[in-house]
Structures are given as C-alpha cells and as structure tokens.
C-alpha cells in the first residue's frame, strides 16, 4: 500500500503532478472548445431554421458529415489533412517547408466541429419550442431583428437548450480523451506513460477513469446550478 502512495504522490518519485497537469490540459481543452462549438452550433441551427432551402441544405450537410464520422477519424483528418493542405500551400512560396500543426489546436477544431454538429440539433429543437408570437412581439415594439434575437429569443433559447447542452458538455469532456492519440499530454496520455514506466497499468488507468468521473460529477453540480439559474424566472408549477 505504501508503494502505491509513493507512485501517486507529487514529486520526483510519484506521478501525481504529471497526472494533475494532464487533468488541467483536459479541462483547458474542453473549456476552450466549448465557446467555439457553441457559437458554430448556434449559427448552424439558425441556418437549419431558416426558410431558405439552400441555407438549410448546406447546414444539413455539415451535420450529416460531423455526426456520422467517428470522432477519432475527424481528429486524424483535421490533424493530418490540415497539415498536408498547409504544406502544399506553403510549397508555393518556399521549398520544403516544415509545418507542424499544434495538436491542441487540431484537437480543439475537431472536437469543436463534432460538438457544434450535435449542439445545432439541440438549438434547433429549442428554436422550434419558441412560438412565432415571441418574434412578432419583438417586431411589434420596434426592435430590430438582431435585438429581438438577443433580448427575447436567446434567453429563452438557452433555457430550452440547456439540458441537451449539458449532456453534450459531458460527452465533450469524455471525447477529449481521444487527443491523447495525437500526442497531447492529457489525463489519459500522462497516466499511460506512468503505466508503462511503472508497469502498474490497472492502477494508473483506474486513476484516469476516476478523474474523469470526478470531472463529470463536478460538471453535473455546476450545470445543475446553471439550470436552476436559467429557470429562476419560471413560475413554480
């Protein structure tokens, strides 16, 4: 038992600090993907909700692709594909360019694309839950389209989409584990290194799983708080 405590302790002999750094990276990646994914998802939903068929079509193609591809494949395509595209572009100007795409950035883009495809569905069903009288009311008091969206529709939209978005956040948190495959030092990669060096695979991967569980529990608590806050204007039923 003492040996186990040494292994997970912070410092030179233990792997606690490495894994803690990995945890910070996982959280940072998930948190920085979130705004990008939410914004993109919102605009995709807006396009799907529009009356213009071409806009609708374009948005549906986007969702079909990024909901249908395995997250791992999306990650590889973004990581290698963007690298190849950039290299070919740079070859127009210099010979043998060395371009390496930041794996944090690649992870953020890939996870953000997947997140936004699912988030757009959440936003779309929330849009459907807002009666057209709400828009008409906004126009009737002389608000512009943008003001109506920001002041009247958006607050209701967030409340309606929140349960689905909370779920997507938990999925995003789990999907960040995939970036360990393209070399990002997240929870899973750090514990994988520890497992290989110490030959205590079950211990370290078990710890990794427990950290993900703790992150999920903490998220649920925070999300529950946000949901209560969003519902504060609703009459108790």
């Amino acid at each position: 038992m003492d040996q186990v405590w040494t292994l997970v302790s912070f410092g030179d002999e233990g792997w606690g600090d490495e894994i803690a750094r990995g945890t910070l990276l996982t959280v940072a990646l998930a948190l920085s993907t979130l705004p990008f994914g939410l914004l993109l998802g919102f605009f995709v939903a807006l396009a799907k909700d529009s009356n213009e068929p071409s806009l609708k079509r374009a948005a549906e193609i986007f969702t079909t692709i990024f909901r249908g591809l395995p997250e791992l494949l999306t990650l590889f395509i973004v990581f290698f594909g963007v690298q190849i595209l950039l290299r070919q572009f740079a070859e127009l100007f210099v010979e043998n360019p060395t371009i390496e795409i930041n794996s944090f950035f690649a992870g953020m883009v890939a996870l953000g694309l997947v997140f936004s495809a699912y988030a757009s569905e959440a936003f779309l069903s929330a849009f459907k839950g807002i009666p057209s009288g709400q828009y008409e009311g906004g126009f009737a008091v002389g608000l512009t389209r943008f003001q109506t969206m920001r002041l009247i529709i958006l607050p209701q939209l967030i409340r309606l989409a929140l349960p689905a978005l909370s779920n997507l956040w938990l999925i995003l948190l789990k999907d960040t584990a995939l970036v360990s495959v393209i070399g990002l030092a997240d929870i899973l990669r750090q514990s994988g290194i520890a497992a290989r060096v110490t030959k205590e695979a079950f211990l370290f991967f078990g710890i990794a799983c427990l950290i993900y569980l703790v992150l999920a529990i903490l998220s649920s608590i925070v999300l529950g708080g946000i949901e209560r806050w969003a519902k504060r204007g609703e009459a108790a039923r």
Binding site: P70, E71, K174, A208, C209
Partner: protein
C-alpha cells in the same frame, strides 16, 4: 340596426408577398452550398489524381477485412451488451439496494468515463492481474486485443442500453400492468407480454442512436492494435503516407452510418404504423 350596416367596410389586407430576389439568407445559402460543391469536386479530383493501381491492389482487400472486423466488433458488442442490459435495467429499477446500488455504480462508471480509457483499463490493466487470470484459466482471453475490445464495448453499451431500456419501461403506463394483474397474469408474464413489447417500441429510436454511437466508437479499437476499418486505415497511412486512405475511411464510415440511419427510420415507421394518427379518414 343601421349603425351596423353603416360601419366602415373592413379593409382586408392581403398578406405581404414573400420577399423575392436575393435576400441575405439566400446569398449566404448559395455561397455555402457553393463551398460544399467546391469541396466535393476538389475531393473527387484529389481521389482521381492520386489514383494508383498498385495502391488499390494492395489496400482494397485490407480495407474489406477491416470493414468486416468492424462489423464483427459492433455486432458482437451490441448483442452481448443487450443480454447484459436487461438484468442491469431491472437492477436499476429494483427497490432492493443490493441490486440497485451495484447496477447504478456500473452504469455511472461506464457512462461517465471515456470509452478509450475503459479500453485501456481492461486491455493494459489485465496485465496487472496476469497471475490471477492465469490461475483461473482466463489469461488467453484477455491476451487478445480483439477479445478485450469486444468485452469493454459490450460492458459499455450494456450500461447505455440499460438506461434506454429503463427509460422505456418506465414510460409504459401503469394501467397496462394493472390490467394484466386484474386478468390474473403472473408478474413475469405481464413483463414479457405487455410491458416489454411496448417499451421496445419506445426504445427503438434511442437503440438506433446507440448502434450509430457503437459504430463510431468502434474506431477506438484501432488504438489497441486491432485492425478494424480504422486500424487498417492507420496502417495504410503509416506505410504509404497517402492521405486518400483517410478519405476512403471517412466515406465508408459515413455511408455505413447513413444507411443504418435510413433503414432504421423505415423500420421504426413500419413498426409504429399502428400508432400513427389515422390521416386517411379525414
């Protein structure tokens, strides 16, 4: 009465005609569609220009093998998972804490942690218990990556399917089982003949989603040296550095998921046709 007839005639305005011409939305829509078309054409051109008979000769059979392995992983995990999920769902609904607490913990663990971490835990972690597994004669099972992957995926999907099943069973109105009781049917018979068939219809859509998730998740098997579709893709890419390997993999996965989704929609429409509101009478 005269004041009614003398009232000013109501002017009924016709509804405003829909905006014709190039609205902002239409411009944006056409631009985006143009972008997709350009991307599609570029993709086809890329596949044509990088056509290489040797590449296809060498990798087509491997891709087919990988595709079959993926199908095996997905179908085996789903079937084994389905078998596990029924007792698990019953455990979740049980009032006995000895059944409810462990099944809750199981479901929470497998739904709350990443599939890739679970796969690592079982595949690499099994090595930590080599002596114990050897002594009960199970080491041969956990030595093989394919078995470990199917084992992990089955446990994972069992947790998800149990929740689907529980939600669907609790969705069946209480009067249904009460009606069964009043007919003097046994609890088992009520569950099998009345509750479960109705629950499965409700569960059809989430089951379809779960199959799609499993197909997508099965790509993780490639990380622990299983040569499924993704594994063959990665191997082909690491040898040829030809990016079309990933493009082909993407096309195959997309077609797989889309075909399943459409077949499933048809299946659901057929199975629930008796629940559709009758539109022919109106």
């Amino acid at each position: 009465m005269s004041d009614i007839t003398s009232a000013p005639p109501q002017v009924i305005q016709p509804p405003a005609p829909p905006k014709a011409g190039w609205t902002k939305a239409r411009i944006a829509g056409h631009a985006l569609m143009g972008l997709w078309i350009v991307a599609g054409v570029a993709l086809v051109l890329f596949l044509i220009t990088s056509y290489d008979a040797e590449f296809y000769d060498r990798y087509t059979p491997k891709f087919i093998n990988g595709f079959i392995v993926t199908l095996q992983i997905v179908s085996l995990s789903l079937i084994i998972g389905a078998a596990f999920s029924l007792p698990l769902a019953l455990g979740r609904m049980s009032r006995n804490p000895l059944a409810a607490v462990p099944s809750y913990a199981f479901v929470y663990f497998f739904r709350g942690t990443p599939l890739i971490a679970q796969t690592f835990l079982i595949y690499y972690g099994a090595g930590s218990f080599r002596d114990a597994l050897d002594s009960i004669g199970l080491w041969w099972f956990f030595r093989d990556a394919f078995n470990c992957v199917v084992f992990t995926f089955a446990l994972n999907t069992a947790a998800y399917q149990a929740e689907i099943l529980r939600g669907a069973i609790q969705n069946v109105a209480k009067g249904q089982s009460e009606a069964g009781e009043s007919l003097g049917l046994s609890r088992f018979l009520i569950f099998r003949k009345i509750v479960l068939p109705q629950a499965l219809i409700v569960a059809l859509r989430p089951y379809g989603n779960e199959i799609v998730l499993m197909i997508k998740g099965s790509a993780i098997a490639s990380i622990v040296t299983v040569f499924d579709l993704m594994g063959e893709t990665r191997r082909a890419f690491s040898r040829s550095f030809d990016f079309q390997t990933y493009i082909w993999a993407a096309i195959i996965y997309l077609v797989m998921v889309e075909v399943l989704r459409r077949v499933w929609d048809k299946l659901e429409a057929r199975l629930t046709r008796h629940l559709e509101p009758d539109t022919s009478a109106r």
